[in-house]
Symmetry: C2
Subunit: 421 residues, 2 copies
Amino acid sequence: MPVKIEIIAVGDELLRGYYTENNSTYISRMLGSAGIDINRISVVPDEAEAIADALAEAMSRSGMVIVTGGLGPTIDDVTREAAITALGGGVEMREDILETIERRYEAYGRKVPKGYERHMAVPSGAIVLANNVGAAPGLKVERDGKMLYLLPGVPAEMKAMFTSSVLPDLTRLGAGRTLILRTCGLSESEIEERLRGVLDEAQFKSLSIISSVAGVDCYLGPGLWDDGTHQAVDRELGSFLYAAGDLKAEEICVKLLTGTGRTLATAESVTGGFLASRITGVPGASGVFIEGFITYGNEAKIERLGVSRKSLESRGAVSEEVCVQMAEGARERTGSDFVLSTTGIAGPGGATEAKPVGYCFIGLATAEGSYCTNVMLGGGRDTVRGRVASIAIDLLRLELKGHSERLDPMRVGRDDGRLGS
Amino acid sequence: MPVKIEIIAVGDELLRGYYTENNSTYISRMLGSAGIDINRISVVPDEAEAIADALAEAMSRSGMVIVTGGLGPTIDDVTREAAITALGGGVEMREDILETIERRYEAYGRKVPKGYERHMAVPSGAIVLANNVGAAPGLKVERDGKMLYLLPGVPAEMKAMFTSSVLPDLTRLGAGRTLILRTCGLSESEIEERLRGVLDEAQFKSLSIISSVAGVDCYLGPGLWDDGTHQAVDRELGSFLYAAGDLKAEEICVKLLTGTGRTLATAESVTGGFLASRITGVPGASGVFIEGFITYGNEAKIERLGVSRKSLESRGAVSEEVCVQMAEGARERTGSDFVLSTTGIAGPGGATEAKPVGYCFIGLATAEGSYCTNVMLGGGRDTVRGRVASIAIDLLRLELKGHSERLDPMRVGRDDGRLGS
């Protein structure tokens, strides 16, 4: 039976909802991909009693407890004191801790603030974990075969210490990796339907299917899949599967473009820069991304991209005709191999009966012709913008991967006999 | 003494770190701004025993417990059963629940899936909370003067039910609102220094100062401030304070532009569309945002914005000269009242000794001249892009608010005697 692991995040600010508690997300993700499941996450305030209670409960339930936060020098940092209480009160004075902190401050030419003297008092038998990013050290204590880790709350310090001092202790517990399957273009129930036939009962029970603006992700529990399953799942999901692993679709596109020396530009209306921002967020994007146009108004569409005024007047800015003209106009002007274009109604304003909020077009211009797809999306402004960007990136992926069976129905001018060509 | 409130979020996927648990963030934020602090947040797996244990502990500690998730029709949804156990086992069969679910499915012309029959069994004495967004109803139970709420895990369903059925019960507990102060341009310690003089001990102790890419936010505890404090804080933070309340800087800019009938365009390099995306994310932005240029490559800067090839060669793309030419070129071409421009090194590649990762320029062109500021930012690619966008938006705010004392030192050509004009 695998050891149970809990996380306790300490901090008043985490209980007020203004900041998302991301330290436990980071730790559980790191452990999750090593095949280790977290048993419970608790968020508690900066109060010694609340922390000590949570710690004692966690130690009684689980074999390993990781605490983040409350190790700093100020009066509200009481995690160390709470740990001493929860572990039975034994204290040890470690002068080397203060010496290390003093050396760190001296290196910056500053004097150590008073509060750090408290750092010398640690639970007896504790091992000091070096902090290479900040001042406060971490601690590791073993009691009755159970492990307790105290880590700083500052994310950069926590991550560095977790990677260097905790992860090596934990990875040997792993049961294997979780299989992550990222899809775009299928609904949750369509995926469930397709996978039901190829997974056995235990696998199917471990399956988590979760939607986001990027698409639908599936998680298959650690130790529950092999190469055979992997191949069967690949077959069932086909071109809808864009990644088996922790990759973003835009990362895949940038890599494919880089590998073949081709270039990309964008011509956005409804996404207002969000599509380009997703792509330029990938390190190395500057090697393939040439330029983006955010033609929000009609005049910009005409001036910058050569969209015809007649099309804007007769079909409207949210139409296949304008979407394709945007992509083709940008391609002509930039010389990019590919251009993605978007137009639509993000809401809350701008909707009509014929073109409600969520009504959008996504286009792709290539040297061999253009593609366009029309979608009707639910959700608010952020969701519509996010999903349009995801569909655009997926359109490019389908082109780069040569999935013509998916692209052909979107080919512009398919009525002129090119359908299925 | 205020009632203690806990949140329990149920779901295996929340313990694997692939999805950030946002339901408890939402609830604690809603309660936090009503002056109610959360006592503890727990995240537990889809296991009846783990849920029942967490529930019993929470009910013994706190006066009010809100559970999200595990109310659906599938076999892993066991929150209702766990609640029955934790509350002592009493069950009541409520056929009206199934009837409501049946009517909902019938309205969509579909048959109710089998799993929903289990929904009829509820803890005795439970009040059914209507779900106007999805199928699974919520439940509300009182036991020994303590309240338990069971809400769905799907965020849209949870939020709708929380707002309609939980919040009205809770707001009467509030001690007032938390004061949120949003700043840009000061460090955490500079803010602490400025506020130390105007806050009393209780206020200062309740103060949370937290950085994000948008700037530094301060939270002053509920019931701990009055109009006098508010004015003193306003005075101390001056033009660095951009909002007292839950507003984004880009929302303030769009509102100020809308109110005065002026327009904005962007010319981005390092932010790659993220700046425009922040602005166009604001509902109604299309009324003031004309157009954006994402001139990632040098040729695009020359072709689209008229940046001089000589400046690019002698000063480089990351220079004040090019940044200002980008803004002014875009202003000339679009006729916008204002243009924001960005150029810099986001990393991880592209750095040189003279221009390391984080070295960036932000420009603003107006009818009365241009401004430019040079910053050196820490953090990785996302942080650099995010902070540059925030500084750009703040530059526009300073202009729209007429803070010339802050803008003058950034005026381009200030060496020609215009300094301090």
